[in-house]
């Protein structure tokens, strides 16, 4: 019976997921494409609309839940991750999405981000990384490149930026992917992969803020450079990239090296094959850290490993076991433990 329900096609359309609210992002904002890709992914993931919950913190991206015709909760700055955790733990049947930005999840909510990932609660975290504070109008964020001139760093930032993937790996993340907001089809595919993964799926979207940080990702997303500056990873496929599909990654010592296929005796067989499912995250960590100009920037599903159970499943198991094992049937029995009956004393 349960199987039948699972395989039933729900015939949801993209329009089913659009709310009646006017979308109030700036014209040209990367958020529009992400919204559209998530709506497409939801149609394909065949989930019941009633079971979907979007949760966010504060920031431009965090207005997202209002634009989805699902259940939604617009939380506090940085706290979306824990609100979403509470929702999922309370009702593990729900399909929970946490929408956040680089300020929301890397600065004020940095603590919650790493603990969510560490607990591996089953939800999709979509991290809109535009490397700037948009809603407060142009201050630097924890992912802003060092030296950037912003409203609060007129002489350039003096802080080293976070790479969200490093934090996810450091917190024993089981799923990490990176996509760019200019490639809707790939975004949708990656979001679908994220929904399939059991555990915390972190998807970093390199998103453009047209007003305060325009073209921040153009070295990665630009039409003329993207094939050479991005390596789109697929599990089980060799790590090949480049306009001519002639470049690849090999391991030299303990580091990656970019090589050209056909030069110095390198053939396709020498190129590393991407194993996203490997419980050992060493290679994933190296992939996440790759930066221009030495390396291409890794996109696609970098890590997807069913190596630990989810928090809510373990908790459900413990609750079920405690109920089965307990010889106590009611709270009444518990409170009467160690109790005694006092008869009316006649002594004065």
């Amino acid at each position: 019976m349960a199987e039948e329900i699972k395989t039933e096609q729900l015939q949801n359309t993209k329009a089913d997921f659009k709310s009646d609210q006017v979308v109030k992002w700036c014209a040209g904002c990367g958020d529009f494409a992400i919204l559209s890709a998530i709506q497409s992914a939801l149609v394909e993931s065949n989930v019941k609309k009633e079971d979907v919950v979007f949760v966010s913190g504060i920031g431009c991206s965090s207005r997202f839940p209002y634009y989805m015709n699902t259940y939604g909760f617009h939380g506090l700055h940085g706290r979306g991750a824990v609100i979403a955790s509470g929702i999922k733990v309370a009702n593990p049947k729900l399909d929970v999405w946490h929408i956040t930005g680089d300020g929301d999840s890397m600065a004020i909510g940095g603590n919650h981000f790493i603990h969510l990932v560490r607990r591996n609660i089953d939800m999709n975290v979509i991290l809109f990384n535009n490397k700037i504070y948009g809603l407060t109008k142009g201050q630097y964020s924890p992912t802003t490149p060092k030296g950037s001139i912003t409203k609060t760093s007129p002489e350039g930032t003096i802080e080293n930026p976070f790479k969200p993937g490093e934090l996810a790996m450091g917190a024993q993340g089981t799923f990490f992917a990176r996509v760019v907001d200019t490639e809707p089809k790939r975004m949708k595919e990656v979001f679908l992969e994220a929904t399939k993964h059991r555990g915390t799926s972190v998807v970093e979207v390199l998103q453009n803020c047209v007003i305060f940080n325009n073209r921040i990702h153009s070295e990665i997303t630009g039409k003329d450079v993207r094939d050479d500056h991005q390596i789109h990873l697929k599990h089980g496929k060799p790590m090949i990239f480049g306009k001519e599909k002639d470049k690849g990654l090999i391991l030299k010592g303990s580091r990656f090296e970019v090589v050209k296929i056909g030069e110095n005796g390198i053939s396709e067989e020498d190129i590393l094959v991407h194993d996203a499912h490997n419980p050992d995250d060493t290679t994933h960590y190296m992939l996440v850290r790759m930066t221009l100009p030495e390396y291409p920037v890794a996109t696609g599903v970098i890590r997807s490993c069913e190596c630990t159970n989810t928090y809510e499943a373990e908790l459900e198991f413990q609750v079920k076991r405690a109920m089965e094992k307990s010889d106590m049937n009611s709270l009444q029995e518990l409170i009467e433990e160690k109790s005694f009956v006092v008869e009316k004393s006649t002594k004065n």
Binding site: S56, H74, L94, I335
Partner: protein, 615 residues
């Protein structure tokens, strides 16, 4: 050894204080003797007094851990002002507690620890046993350490464990002194060590009996005392602390609402026991989420509430400060949430292990915006159960955060609890709504003004809520000026409307008279004891103890108007008095405040009340 003849005196009540190094097992001894007295039918109230360091330097006053116990044949409302019997296992314990014993009290000391080294550590200049410090007291100098070790010598326990049995020796003396049945003490030890540590169980039992036998033979203890079971009381009872009662009250509310309880919390003294207790309750479907910080604790609870669990977060003052933004989120999203604040001395880290009532203003007003919550305060360790239950009921039925204030004194203190029948507690009926109803998230129930509660997963009810101001009824984000004003009044009105669902204020004593003593929360025991004593002496004094703080009971002004003078007593600088000045400015409020990290003493209260009456 020949049994000496002894005299048994029946007494109404006795106060015993155990004191030793933290690590000497004083809290355990206290609990053990409490349980034994409870089983014997005595009324009781207890209060542990321990340092915030886990093991402060041995032998110093800073490291003294104490446990005070008041047991009675008559009703007992506080752990007692001064002790009739002090057990001091070292000179520091004596030094720290000398001022808390009655003149002529029995002081049992472990003579093995009374040497120059320990005098110095404790800060005595002269040997207190020889300089007249203890003149007028009945001092029992027992070689407790030495005899304890000797008792377990042939059992083969290690030296450290042997040393640690000494608390049982001291207890054994008390079992004899107060004619308590050793059987209860032995059962307590067996439960404590279980089948896993049979050797330690045997060692402790032997030492307990050795202490008892020692007392039976020693000349210094010629008189023993009998505290008969309490009269005019019957039913099923147990000894319970405020924190455990709070945890169980919350579970009871979940059960009566037929909901699952979700606790999102972060450990903090003196509230951690609630989290610990609820962590053991998975068998009743309780889910506990030990969050990464206070903020995560409350936000996870808000998420769980949105998803349809009965959500709770527990903390103390510093934690409530961290949670304040999220309390506002629960206010504006109008989701049920119980926030338990076990108050302690502040500000900042303050006095983590000492009680205080200084979070009242924080609970009432400590948030950005107009952010009304229901505020309730428990007033005895046992009634933490009732007020935790009521906090849950009001929160769930009125779709509002409720802040429940207890304090370190209630939380760790214990008393006898007349166990209720859970099935007889009132039903809890949250305003759930059926699938595919015509649903507007901020449309309200006319009677309670609560909005209806649709849960994710329900068909045909999809909606969005959040921290931005919402349009009345539809819940759409709105920056409309008049809508914001309307919503602000609606949120305040909803909380004020709870007044129609809470009981009137009751007065202990005459309905009118010279002086009305006003208290709230955890000061009840001391206030009622002082007021009763004065009433017995014919004084025109009554007590009104508040449990419902926001809203105040309907008849508050009417009660106040019947007395010539009102004195508001609090363990702070006057927060409730000031709140009453806001709510009912027509009355003149005298104040009695104490802020020493200590509860009120009955004697100081009586002095103050007499002074006011004579004025």
């Amino acid at each position: 050894m020949s049994k000496k003849t002894n005299k048994v005196i029946e007494v109404d009540a006795v106060v015993v204080k155990f004191a030793g190094d933290s690590g000497d097992g004083m809290q355990l001894s206290g609990s053990q003797f409490s349980d034994t007295s409870a089983f014997a039918g005595n009324d009781l109230a207890t209060f542990p007094d321990y340092p915030s360091e886990i093991r402060a330097p041995q032998g110093t006053v800073a490291g003294v851990s104490g446990f005070q116990l008041h047991i009675g044949h008559k009703e007992v409302d506080t752990p007692g002002d001064l002790a009739d019997v002090l057990v001091a296992l070292n000179p520091a314990a004596l030094k720290a507690n000398m001022k808390w014993v009655k003149s002529g009290a029995t002081i049992i000391i472990d003579i093995d620890n009374f040497d120059n080294k320990y005098y110095k550590k404790a800060g005595f200049i002269e040997d207190p046993l020889g300089d007249g410090t203890l003149d007028g007291y009945n001092v029992v100098k027992a070689p407790i350490s030495q005899l304890s070790k000797a008792t377990v010598k042939d059992l083969g326990v290690d030296a450290k464990s042997a040393e640690r049995t000494k608390n049982q020796f001291a207890l054994g003396i008390l079992y004899w002194l107060f004619n308590k049945d050793l059987k209860f003490g032995e059962e307590f030890i067996e439960n404590k060590f279980g089948d896993k540590k049979p050797l330690l169980s045997e060692a402790n039992k032997r030492v307990l009996r050795a202490g008892y036998n020692y007392a039976e033979t020693v000349e210094a203890l010629r008189t023993t005392y009998q505290i008969n079971p309490i009269k005019n009381r019957s039913g099923r009872f147990r000894n319970i602390t405020g924190n455990v009662a709070t945890a169980w009250g919350l579970v009871a509310a979940a059960e009566r609402a037929n909901m699952e309880l979700f606790l999102g919390s972060y450990p903090i003294t003196p509230a951690s026991e609630i989290l610990q207790e609820l962590s053991k309750m998975k068998k009743f479907g309780v889910k506990t989420f030990q969050a990464e910080d206070e903020i995560a604790g409350i936000n996870s609870a808000i998420g769980a509430s949105f998803a349809g669990d009965f959500a709770v977060t527990t903390t103390s003052g510093p934690g409530l400060a961290l949670k304040s933004e999220a309390v506002g989120l629960a206010v504006i999203t109008e989701l049920p949430l119980v926030i338990v604040d076990v108050q302690r001395g502040g500000p900042a880290t303050g006095l983590p292990t000492k009680p205080e009532q200084s979070d009242l203003m924080q609970a009432l007003y400590g948030r950005n915006g107009e952010s009304p919550c229901v505020v309730i305060a428990a007033s005895t360790p046992a009634n933490c159960f009732h007020y935790a239950f009521m906090s849950g009921k009001i929160s769930l039925e009125h779709m509002t955060p409720v802040i429940l204030l207890t304090d370190g004194y209630l939380a760790n203190g214990s008393e006898l609890w007349n166990i209720p029948q859970i099935k007889d507690l009132p039903e809890v009926k949250p305003p759930f709504i059926a699938d595919n109803s015509e649903y507007l998230p901020y449309k309200r129930n006319e009677k309670t003004l609560a909005r209806y509660w649709a849960l994710p997963g329900q068909e045909g009810m999809r909606h969005r809520i959040g921290g931005l101001e919402k349009e009345d009824e539809t819940g759409i984000v709105s920056h409309n000026p008049l809508n914001h004003e309307r919503m602000s009044y609606l949120r305040e009105g909803k909380v004020q409307n709870v007044v129609n669902f809470i009981p009137d204020l009751k007065v202990s004593g005459e309905d009118s008279g010279e002086l009305l003593v006003v208290g709230w929360g955890g000061t009840y025991g001391a206030l009622i004891s002082a007021v009763k004593d004065m009433q017995e002496k014919g004084k025109s004094v009554s007590l009104a103890q508040f449990n419902y703080i926001k809203p105040l009971p309907k008849n508050t002004a009417e009660v106040f108007s019947r007395f010539k003078k009102i004195v508001v007593c609090e363990i702070n600088l006057g927060q409730f008095a000031n709140y009453l000045r806001i709510c009912h400015p027509e009355f003149n409020y005298l104040q009695y405040n104490k802020i020493q990290g200590l509860p009120f003493m009955i004697s100081e209260l009586k002095d103050k009340f007499n002074e006011i009456l004579e004025d």
